[in-house]
Amino acid sequence: MNALEIRNLTRHFGDFTLDSLNLTLPGGCILGLIGENGAGKSTTIRLILGMLRPDGGTVTILGRDNRDNLALTKQDIGVVLDEVGIPECMTPKQVGRVMADVFTRWDAKTYGGLLERFSLPENKKFKEFSRGMKMKLGLAVALSHQAKLLILDEATSGLDPVVRDEVVSILSEFTRDESHSILISSHIVSDLEKLCDYVAFLHRGKLLLCEEKDMLLSEYGILHCRPEDLPETGVLHKKLSPYGAEAIVRRDAVKPGTALSPISMEELFVFMSKEAK
């Protein structure tokens, strides 16, 4: 079963349109939603969670339409937003008590274990936490009610590299269970490159691509050559300078034996975004 299916999801704002978005997150996988600020990542997540109403299209979460009893479906979803949203005066201990009444499958033992693992003091107020600690508390809540789907909106941005790495390893652990899936949005492409099975590039409300990460990286390469040597087809993007041409090309479009540099997700995203302008 797919964890998430988005079909023709459309939402118009004044000067922005999320345009007929189609995405599928297979069960047991991690899908990275990559896009620059304002690309529509948070809008997509808020539409999935019913916080915004779509102008068209459907969202199916764990086999259930998100217009049908979404509160029940949310029992199976753990969410961490960019700003975690836990009241500043509350301590992790109090948060645990509140969440025990929110989630029917709240596991106090797991929560306590995660607080310990993340070195989060039980009785310290949320407002006294660093950004990394706040994010970890958000994650601890999201991971303590046997969620099947995690949705993370810019959860790693603003964290130092050590905490980011820790978060990435926690998320990898979560998907060891084949029934667990993650949708994670970020503009920090390197984090998603480490983590994701699938990537979706979103640019100005439009989906540029949604493919399996490994296939994508093996499909394209960077070609450095003279402008006249560029292949006629299969060029995704090219940059011409007095010193030559640099192009992202499909590997199957160049002559066998041509030297291609491997491409990173970030380069691919930047090139594709520029191409789409």
Binding site: R46, L49, G50, M51, L52, R53, A71, L72, T73, K74, Q75, I77, V79, L81, E83, V84, G85, I86, P87, E88, C89, M90, Q94, R97, V98, M99, A100, D101, V102, F103, I151
Partner: protein
């Protein structure tokens, strides 16, 4: 619902502790003094602020967005604020009842009048204000609150004037014992209670349509 009330309780404990102290001081002063209407009714006005204050903290800390990701219906979210309002009203009424019992200068009719007006005061303002808060957010909702307070005092002044009561003239308060006015007081309490219920239902309707960005 229990979760939301618990969360609001933690916030009340952290941010509104001083409210309880102010209520106690004002009621104590009214007990020691000669029953100034302002001192007696101020705690009710203060507690009517609490649901909006809690919503302000929710918006400032982005809880309103976070709770949108949790398995909590919007109807419950709205209802929790109205229930907090009712609880605060109940606490103020209980404190006032104790003060009125302790002070033996009040007639039973006057006690009833003061309890009635406190009940009305504690409900009418959030009833007017909360739908605006749930529709436009607390910043604009607060403007509606100030407007409602102004409106209420203007109406109170006109009503008190017609009943021959002045907030500054305490002898007029203590002399208010006309049993004939009891039906009017009861009607005012029922109107305020009905306004609170209508406001509750209206806020649920409004918040269900609101988008959380």
């Amino acid at each position: 619902m229990k979760a939301l009330l618990r969360k609001d309780f933690y916030q009340l404990r952290a941010y509104c502790k001083s409210y309880l102290l102010i209520c106690a001081v004002f009621l104590g002063v009214s007990l020691a003094g000669e029953g100034n209407l302002f001192f007696i009714t101020y705690p009710a006005m203060l507690c009517s602020l609490i649901p909006v204050t809690l919503q302000t903290y929710d918006e400032r800390g982005k809880w309103d967005a976070y709770v949108g990701t949790l398995p909590v219906t919007r109807a419950r979210l709205v209802s929790s604020k109205y229930l907090v309002g009712l609880c605060c009203s109940g606490i103020v009424l209980a404190l006032l009842a104790l003060v009125l019992l302790a002070a033996n200068r009040y007639t039973p009719e006057l006690r009833l009048f003061l309890l009635g007006i406190t009940f009305c005061l504690s409900l009418v303002s959030p009833a007017f204000c909360l739908p605006f808060v749930f529709r436009f957010g607390t910043e604009k909702g607060r403007m509606a609150y100030y407007f409602s307070i102004g409106l209420f005092f203007a109406a109170s002044y006109i009503l008190a004037d017609s009943l021959g009561i002045s907030a500054a003239d305490t002898s007029a308060i203590t002399s208010w014992n006309r049993a004939a006015d009891a039906p009017g007081l009861l009607a005012a309490c029922l109107i305020c209670a009905a306004a609170y219920i209508i406001s509750w239902l209206l806020s649920i309707r409004i918040y269900q349509k609101r988008e959380i960005a």
